[in-house]
Amino acid sequence: MAEEKDPKLMEKLKEVIDPELGESLVDMGLIKSATLDKSGNATVEFIPSSPVCPIAFYLASQIKKKTLEAEGVRSARVYCRGHAMEENINKSVNPPE
C-alpha cells in the first residue's frame, strides 16, 4: 500500500536539502509519509540515506521546521525510521508537550 503524502506538505518539504547529497529529501524519495489531519496536526516520517547517517538529527529538525511553516499546520511530529539512533532522534525532535 502506498504511504500517504499530503501534496502541500510535500511541496514545503522540497525545501529540506540533504547537505551531503545536495538534493531535496523529497526528490531523493526519503520522505516515507507526510499527513495532515483536519485539526492541523502534521506527521512526517523520513528515512535517512544510511542507518548511520551522522546528519539525521539535523535533517529531522529541518523537517520539523519546514513542516511547521506549511500552510494550515498547527503542530508537527517528525519520525526518523531505520537509523541506528532513531529513538534518540525522535525523542529530541518531538519533546513531550
Partner: protein, 467 residues
Amino acid sequence: MNLAKLPLHFRFFRAAVVYLLVGGFLGFLFSYEAVHHYTHGTTIVSGHIVLMFFGWVTMTIMGAMSKMVPTMISRDLYSEDWGEITYWFMNIGIIGYSGSLLFEGFSSDIYGFVLPWFYPNISFLFVSFIVVSCVIFAYNLYRTIGLRTEKLSDPSIGLSLDFYRASIAYFVLSIVIATLAVLGFTTDVFSPLKFANVLWVAPFTTLGWMTMTIMGAMYHLLPMFTISKVPNLKLAKFQFWALNFGIVFTGVAGLLGAKRIIFEGVEVSPLSVLQTVGVIFAGLGAFAFVYIMAWTVMTRKRRELNISMKFYIAALFYFALTGIFGVWLKTKPGYEFAEANTIILGHGLLSVIGFVSLTIMGSMYSIIPMLAVVELHAKSKKVPTVLTEMYNERLARLSFWLSTVGVAGYIMGLVGEGYVTAIMGAEAAETAAFPYKILSATFVFVLAVGVLLFANNMRKILGWLKD
C-alpha cells in the same frame, strides 16, 4: 582562529592532516636521488614511516572510530577521558619517536656523531607512549561496542562492527609483536618467534589494521553516499572470514619462520602450505570485497558521484592492482625478479598511498563536513545548505585528479626503474633507469600538490567551527 574547544574526533583529524604534511614532505624529499643517496638505510626513513603510519593513518582511524562506532550502536564512547589520554599519548609518542629517529639519522647515520649510551632509552620512552595509547584505545572501543552487538537496525552495521572489532585486535597484536621484537624477545633461542623480526607484523598491520578498518568503513559509507544497500551480505560475510583466515595464516606462518615466497616447487613444508593457503584466502577476500563494492556502485540510486566516491573508486582500482601485484610477488619468479629493486617499493607504495591514503582522503571530504554540520547545528550556528560550501569544490576535484594521477605515475616510474634494474643489473641500469627516475620525481611532485590542496580544503572545513 580559536579551535581550542574542538571535540576529540576533530582534533584527531586535524593532527592527522598535520602529520600527513610533515611525513609527506619527508617522503617527497626521499623520492629524489640526491636526498635518497644520503637517507637510504638511515633512521630518517623510519621517522617518516612513524609519521605516516601512526600520525596520518592511525590517528585518522582513531578519530573516526571514536565518533562513528558509538553512533552506529546508539551509545556514547565508553570514556571520553580515556579518549583524551589516547589522543595526547599518541601525539607525545609520535612527535617524540619520529623526532628521535630523525635526530639519530641526521647526527649519527649521516654526520657520524656518537650518540650517548642512553639515547635508545629516550626513543623507547616515546614508543611506550604509543603502545600504552593503542592499548587504551582498544580497551575504550571494546568497552563501547562489546564483543557482540544485539538489536541492530540494519544488518550491514553488524558487518562493519565485525570488521572494526577484528581490526582493533590485529592492531593490538601488531603492537605486541613489534614491542617483543624491539625488546629482543623474538631473538631468544627459547622463543617460538625466534625467526620473527619487526617486519613480520606486516600482514597484521597492513591487512589486519588498515585494510580491515577501511573495509568496515566502506561497507557503511559507500552505500550512504550512493543511497544503496550492500547487495549481498552473505558474500560480504564470506569475504570477512576469508580475509581473516588469510591474515592469520600468512601472519602465523611468517612469525614461525616461513619463507617470503610460496609455490616453491618440490620444497613443501607445513609452513609453506599454511602460507600458500593464507595467500589464497587473502586474495579471495580482497577480490570479493572489490566485487561487492563495484556491485554497490553499479546498483546505486544516485547517479552523480560525490568527491568521496571518486576517491573510493580510484582507491579500489589500486587495491585490486596491488592485490594482483602482491600475489605475483609471493611467487618464486616474481619475488626473484623484484627482490633487490624498486618494484617491491612500488607495490608497497601502491598499497599505502593508492589504497589507504586515497580512501582516507575521500572519507575526510565527507565525514569531517558531516560531523561539522552536527556540531554547528548543536551550537545553533549557521549550517551550510550543502557540504561542498565548506570547501573549494574545484580544488577538491583538482586534488583528486592530481593525487590519483600522481600515484599512478610515481608507481610506474618505480616499476620501470625496477624492471630495467632486474633485466640489466644495478650498475648497467644506471643510465637506462634515468628516464624512470625523472618520471617518478615528476609525478611525486604532482601527488604532493594534490595533497597540499587536500590539506588546504580540510583547513577550510575546520574553519567553520571557529568561535
